[in-house]
């Protein structure tokens, strides 16, 4: 792959999701009927949406008590449906109870029923969790993800990492704007943690920020965030499917590696348009499926510039802003101030 191509597509998504678990089973219909998370848009939409709960009762009554906040994401790797960022927060001295009493743990160890029930409990106005946990989600639609990544070269692409970071920062800001006394933030990341932590710390200088891989298995509040995100994503995807194609079709989990997803993608190609707005056209899997199924070639302005490195300065700036510049090195170069890449 040439350097120019690497700039256009900074992340090979399929390779970038080492933690992906493939679930071929569909969400249980009986779960769906009596519970729909408030964070899920009632109607399929092309537009990204944000959901934010009011400040929970216990935190309102103890406004000076420090609060911890967790951040996690669901649906980064799939070719279908939205990517959801979730945050949840609670009093710092309540966090351990999340794990001991309710079993908030590594989301990979919780099955779908368990996850859905936990979110249901958080949403149950009569329950303890409702009074203790505040949460928020940002549902980034497939169309917003794709169009950001596929912006024309004259505008510059908005890569998945930047989209993810911006969503996270907006969610944290949303809670701060409510007046919650946040002191510590724990962030789960699949990418390089060092530069991301520095970026968040710069944006929120008064908060203690910890970015870690697999944070959802270490910090119960991140586990709660991961459940908010994951359940929202699963219900959103299923809703879109039912509303666009009917409940009888199967498209699997949406991950490119899921055979049901692959089958659906390959069978649903329209020669000109490809698919509806649920598919992430920027994924290599989607691009390949269009070609494989005799889709008509559509050429865009950038397709003629593949072999051109373009503005070399921009290439470096892009690289630096992606946050990959430092983490590739075995040691931190933060000692020396700004990396030379940034100039």
């Amino acid at each position: 792959m040439s350097a120019a191509a690497a700039v256009e597509e900074p992340i090979e998504i399929e390779d970038y999701e080492p933690e992906t678990i493939v679930e071929t089973s569909q969400p249980q219909p009986e779960i769906q009927q009596d519970f729909l998370p408030p964070s899920v848009p009632r109607e399929h939409t092309y537009k990204s949406t944000t959901f934010l709960t009011p400040i929970p009762k216990v935190i309102l009554e103890n406004p000076k008590e420090p609060c911890v906040l967790g951040v996690d994401e669901a649906g980064r790797g799939p070719v279908l449906g939205p990517m959801v960022y979730g945050i949840s927060y609670c009093l710092k001295n309540y966090e351990s109870i999340l794990k001991s009493k309710y079993g908030f743990a590594d989301s990979k160890t919780l099955n779908e029923l368990k996850r859905t029930n936990l979110l249901k409990q958080i949403c149950d106005q009569e329950g303890e969790l409702f009074e203790q946990i505040g949460w928020s989600t940002r549902t980034m639609t497939a169309m917003d993800i794709s169009s950001g990544m596929l912006r024309p070269p004259s505008v510059g692409n908005y890569n998945l990492n930047e989209q993810a970071h911006d969503a996270t920062m907006d969610l944290i800001q949303g809670v701060l704007d409510q007046g919650v006394n946040l002191t510590e933030i724990f962030v789960d990341t699949v990418g390089p943690p060092v530069t991301y932590q520095a970026k968040l710390q710069k944006r929120f200088p008064n908060l203690k920020i910890i970015v870690a891989k697999k944070a959802d298995s270490i910090y119960p509040i991140v586990s709660a965030a991961s459940i908010c995100a994951k359940v929202t994503r699963d219900f959103s995807l299923n809703n879109s499917k039912d509303q666009l194609y009917g409940s009888e079709i199967t498209w699997g989990s949406g991950y490119p590696s899921d055979p049901n997803t692959k089958k659906w993608l390959n069978n649903a190609v329209d020669p000109i348009f490809g698919w509806d707005q649920v598919v992430r056209f920027s994924w290599q899997t989607a691009k390949d499926a269009i070609i494989k199924n005799d889709g008509i070639e559509i050429e865009w302005e950038e397709d003629n510039e593949k072999d051109d490195y373009g503005d070399v300065g921009k290439l470096f700036r892009d690289k630096a802003s992606q946050g990959d510049g430092l983490d590739g090195l075995p040691i931190s170069t933060l000692w020396y101030g700004r990396n030379v890449n940034c100039f």
Binding site: S147, M149, I272, G274, I298
Partner: protein
């Protein structure tokens, strides 16, 4: 070349043209356009998506056009219908101010030839 032909411009069918910033390697009818070409009115613009790209456009209605087709057998040119609207699209982040210039051009043209 400049042979005069009588073309029937009164054909009842009207077409809307979508001018989009890409090259589609296909010429001909396509039945799924109404299903897939979703247009969203946002502020003063029309938003649509094609192959994951976001396009924004404006409508030009004060123009007239004709859709012509040449009959391969008789070499005769027939009018298939009229164009009463052009929707001009650009990529996300690229200005569509050219639309205003089309307006200007039409006005100027009317002044000269009117």
């Amino acid at each position: 070349m400049a042979e005069e032909r009588n073309i029937d411009l009164q054909s009842a069918k009207t077409y809307k043209v979508n001018s989009i910033p890409c090259r589609i390697r296909y010429t001909g009818p396509h039945s799924s356009i109404p299903k897939h070409l979703i247009k969203i009115q946002e502020n003063q613009e029309i938003i649509t998506y094609l192959r994951g790209r976001k396009l924004h456009g404006k409508s030009i209605t004060n123009i007239k056009g004709v859709v012509l087709a040449k009959d391969d057998m008789s070499d005769e040119i027939k009018s298939l219908g009229q164009v009463n609207e052009v929707q001009y699209y650009e990529r996300e982040g690229v200005s569509i101010d050219q639309v205003e210039k089309i307006d200007e051009f039409v006005k100027l043209s009317e002044l000269i030839h009117g």
